[in-house]
């Protein structure tokens, strides 16, 4: 047990180290100089003033130091919880931008992942071996799962937002609102949340339903199901056993899919201008904001790693075989 989690944690630690390094490296390999583009926005006409600003900002962001020093600095700052100052929203600290954005992203991601997984699995299980359902759910699921996130999002924004005008097309809450702990504000938040949530939910739903259907069919044809059936057990009982077994690969699937889902959420946020991490990342890339990009990716990497770890733990709980295997390994 300890070895199992020890090994897992080691892998996660290594992943984290690599992720931070890559996060640090990639923005710096992009063409262009962030201070130059910041100054270009500043439109300072006078060459002398321009030079003074350039020196000042290069020093402020530490770009005048050798690259290895910058790399070490970034680790040091990370452990102090200091993500640096955003170049794009200068002089806002990156941590501020992230803490404002993360609640929106989580509010989209967690419900859409969990609810789509639960409902998708139910739907898939129902569809298996029921001709009518199978003929409807399956094709719809295939279409949904093959739909690119941004395309479905754009379609929904157009349909529900522009054509029917039921839902807002953009933003986290109405421009006529100021945040407050009141019902109207909460309703407004929810109202803006529906479309981005729905587009994430729908795409993910299809995948789970298809997966579940296939596994259930496989399970229903397995020996234990036939045996139970021969004993005269009710169909309902057999299906329940099959479902339990079929859920296991779906949990693994969830761990594998997390990254894809997060990426999908980022794209969806951009389509709806939802003020989460996705919109931040886009802005960071466009403005070559090293620090914001690093910070945002770090959050995502951490989030995905933690979620994976939780799934590992859950797997150990729901699948007795892993426990047995571990006991065997430690024996």
């Amino acid at each position: 047990m300890r070895r199992y989690f020890g090994r897992k944690l080691l892998v996660y630690g290594l992943t984290f180290f690599m992720a931070v390094t890559v996060n640090w490296l990639v923005p710096r390999l992009m063409p262009g100089d962030p201070v130059a583009s910041m100054l270009a926005r500043a439109r300072v006409a006078q060459p002398e003033a321009q030079e003074a600003l350039r020196v000042y900002y290069n020093n402020l962001f530490g770009f005048d130091q050798p690259w290895w020093q910058q790399y070490l600095n970034s680790w040091g700052a990370l452990f102090r919880g200091d993500f640096g100052i955003s170049l794009w929203a200068f002089p806002t600290p990156v941590a501020d931008l992230l803490t404002r954005a993360v609640p929106y992203s989580l509010a989209l991601l967690i419900p859409s992942i969990l609810i789509s997984w639960v409902i998708g699995n139910r739907l898939g299980a129902l569809a298996a071996r029921r001709k009518v359902l199978d003929n409807t759910v399956l094709p719809v699921s295939y279409v949904l799962t093959a739909t690119p996130y941004l395309w479905l999002a754009a379609l929904m924004a157009w349909g529900f937002g522009i054509v029917w005008g039921i839902f807002p097309v953009a933003g986290g809450y109405s421009f006529s609102m100021t945040p407050s702990f009141t019902w109207p504000f909460f309703v407004d938040l929810l109202w803006h949340w529906v479309l981005p949530f729905a587009s994430l939910f729908l795409v993910a739903l299809g995948g789970w339903a298809i997966g579940m259907r296939n596994v259930i069919i496989y399970e229903l044809e397995s020996d234990y199901a036939n045996y139970l059936s021969a004993l005269g057990a009710p169909q309902k009982l057999i299906r329940r056993y099959a479902f339990r077994n079929a859920v296991l690969p779906q949990i693994t699937g969830l761990a594998l899919q997390l990254g894809v889902l997060v990426a999908g959420a980022l794209v969806t946020e951009i389509v709806f201008s939802y003020p989460g991490l996705g919109s931040l990342i886009l802005a960071a890339i466009q403005n070559k904001d090293f620090f914001l990009l690093q910070g945002a990716f770090l959050f995502i990497v951490l989030g995905v790693l933690i979620a994976n770890f939780i799934i590992d733990v859950i797997y150990v709980i729901v699948d007795p075989r892993t426990r047995v295997g571990m006991a065997g390994a430690s024996a």
Binding site: M30, P31, G32, D33, P34, A36, S37, A40, R41, R43, V44, Q46, P47, A49, Q50, E51, A52, L53, R54, Y56, L60, S86, A89, P91, T92, D96, T99, R100, A101, P103, Y104, L106, I110, A157, G161, I162, P168, V169, A170, G171, G172, S174, F175, S176, T178, P179, S180, F181, T182, P184, F185, W193, S273, P275, A283, N287, G303, I306, I317, R323
Partner: protein, 585 residues
């Protein structure tokens, strides 16, 4: 078994705690509100802005409103300068003259001394009176090296405040044109609050709770908006007889043109200063959206889009070649095909229509250029550029092939289409131009370091004087990094001297200005260090569902610029807001 269970539970509990720590913000609590400073202005009822009292604008801010620092004219929240902080003068581009604002009057008492009389009874929003000391303090901030108007002190020698309402500026060299630009561009800040701030805070400070003299005060902000609330004790109500009707102004951060269009159509936006492709259809269709002109070009002109050749590279260092290139560009096709007549073709000098009086038509008549493929071919042939290998494209004089890359930022769709047109029409004349779309940052780097062949630029707005236009074209010396002007690195000491001469011409000496401008236009057209193509519009789409009396070319409507763009509130933008009337009282 019990033992085993606890062994499971430890990591489970640990993980769930960790998850809880990370997801406790999972419900969308209004955390952003935490950023609102301690003593906010009166909050709107129920946390909402009543629609009939609120003006929604967009099209200026491209990032979150990160600071309220009027020194940061380029990225402070929309309205920081103009709504909260004010300038000594405004400039009226229609009449072509300065309008006294905080100043009651301003005049040159001798050739190198300028004296400003302040209006009486102006107070800061914290109740303290505005005095000459504040003005003196503001201009003296420029002595700090990183302050954008630091260069003012190269020719300004002293600022004095002999009494509470008089400010006297003494110059070592009077640059009259630039000075006028400065007095309507520099926000006056309160000395009693800014005094003692270090250079770092002046330049980089967020300046929460801005205290200004203006008609609006800070209300709240979030990542995607900033809200201002009317300052009921604003001095201008009595003194200028201006009373802006919107109680709240909410400026929305641009995310994309699609979002702006959606908001506009849903009547959630009153003034959109975004470039919306196909705005002509919005106006002619029945969407309740209008623009300044009901017919082409729909918009006022705000700046000139130039084709900028890198004059340090062959064959673009040859004025004859640049002329041939200029003649090869089918601007009409860009104006009609790409923009649907939302823009106007530029005059050969590129001077904005508002500066028409400074355009010497005789010079334009003899030296101007127009789209003429045959003429472009002839110019190339006369200058010795021949097509030796018969591929229909000319080669350099030494026989090496020409391959010019024309760049605009990826994603700037109208410009991307435009340069495709340019490339096609240049090739028709035998010049090998290829369109490329690098990332914006990469383009900025190439542009400032001079590692490009051709690009499109429009980074000079309308101003009080054609001086700023010529400064953009001719400024010397050329530095290792050219960040804002003269990207083509064109060097012509004679022209730069003329630009400085223009700067030193008094602003009321229109004939003197015309004379210098005419010489500069001659050089510009002979040499074409930039090739003027079209006038970009002052993009402005307005909806009259909540607010009416928008500026328009028709009837008695105001003629000021309908815009919230940076530095435009002093060019008529504020006057436009002040003339709005509620539709439903």
């Amino acid at each position: 078994m019990r033992n085993r269970v606890t062994r499971f539970l430890i990591p489970v509990v640990a993980a769930s705690l960790l998850a809880a720590a990370c997801t406790s913000g999972g419900t969308p609590t209004p955390a952003p509100g935490a950023s609102v400073p301690a003593a906010p202005a009166p909050v709107a009822e129920g946390g909402a802005f009543p629609r009939n009292e609120t003006l929604y604008t967009s099209g200026t801010q491209w990032g979150p409103p990160a600071n309220f620092n009027p020194i940061r004219e380029w990225d402070s929240a929309t309205g920081t300068k103009g709504l909260v902080y004010e300038t000594l003068f405004h400039f009226d581009p229609v009449a072509g003259k300065l309008t006294p604002w905080l100043a009651a009057s301003g005049a040159w008492v001798d050739d190198t001394t300028y004296e400003v009389k302040l209006r009486p009874n102006i107070t800061w929003s914290d109740g303290k009176p505005l005095t000459a000391e504040d003005v003196k303090f503001t201009f003296e901030l420029g002595k700090m090296e990183t302050i954008p108007y630091h260069n003012l002190w190269n020719w300004l020698s002293a600022v004095e405040a002999p009494d509470a309402s008089t400010v006297r500026f003494t110059f070592s060299k009077a640059n009259y044109q630039q000075w006028d630009f400065n007095i309507y561009s520099r926000s006056i800040v309160p000395k009693h609050i800014w005094e003692g701030r270090a250079e770092k805070d002046v330049l980089d400070g967020i300046n929460e709770n801005p205290v200004g003299t203006g008609a609006y005060k800070y209300h709240s902000h979030d990542q995607d908006r900033v809200a201002w609330v009317k300052n009921d004790t604003w001095w201008g109500k009595a003194t200028l007889n201006l009373d802006p009707k919107p109680k709240y102004i909410v400026d929305i951060v641009n995310s994309s043109n699609e979002v702006a269009m959606g908001l506009l159509l849903q009547k959630g936006l009153d003034l959109s200063n975004n470039f919306l492709p196909g705005a002509a259809n919005l106006v002619s269709g029945n969407f309740g959206i209008s623009t300044f002109y009901p017919e082409p070009p729909y918009m006022l002109s705000a700046n000139t889009a130039w084709l900028v050749p890198n004059t340090k590279k062959k064959p673009l260092d040859d004025a004859q070649f640049r002329k041939a290139l200029a003649a090869s560009v089918d601007t009409k096709k860009i104006v009609e095909g790409v923009y649907g007549n939302l823009v106007k073709p530029a005059s050969p000098t590129g001077l904005l229509p508002q500066w028409d009086q400074f355009v010497d038509q005789a010079v334009v008549g003899s030296k101007g250029f127009g789209f003429d493929t045959a003429k472009a071919k002839k110019l190339l042939a006369d200058a010795g550029y021949k097509d030796a290998n018969g591929d229909g494209l000319v080669e350099n004089k030494d026989g090496s092939p020409i391959a010019l890359k024309l760049i605009v930022p990826a994603g700037w769709t109208d410009w991307m289409e435009s340069i495709r047109v340019i490339a096609t029409s240049a090739r028709a004349a035998g010049i090998n131009v290829e369109a490329e779309f690098p990332d914006y940052n990469a383009l900025v780097e190439a542009r400032s370091s001079g590692k490009f062949d051709l690009l499109i630029n429009n980074e000079r707005q309308l101003s009080n004087s054609p001086y700023t236009y010529f400064e953009y074209v001719f400024q010397l010396p050329v530095q290792a990094q050219q960040n804002t002007v003269n990207f083509g690195r064109y060097e012509n000491p004679e022209a730069w001297k003329l630009v400085q001469q223009l700067d030193g011409t008094k602003t009321d000496d229109v004939e003197g200005m015309k004379k210098v401008a005419s010489q500069l236009e001659g050089i510009l057209l002979d040499e074409l260090p930039v090739i003027p193509l079209w006038y970009n519009g002052l993009w402005s789409q307005v909806s009259s569902t909540t607010w009416k009396n928008w500026p328009s070319s028709e009837g008695s409507a105001p003629k000021s610029a309908p815009t919230m763009w940076r530095n435009w509130l002093e060019l008529g933008g504020f006057e436009s807001l002040a003339s709005l009337q509620p539709v439903a009282p």
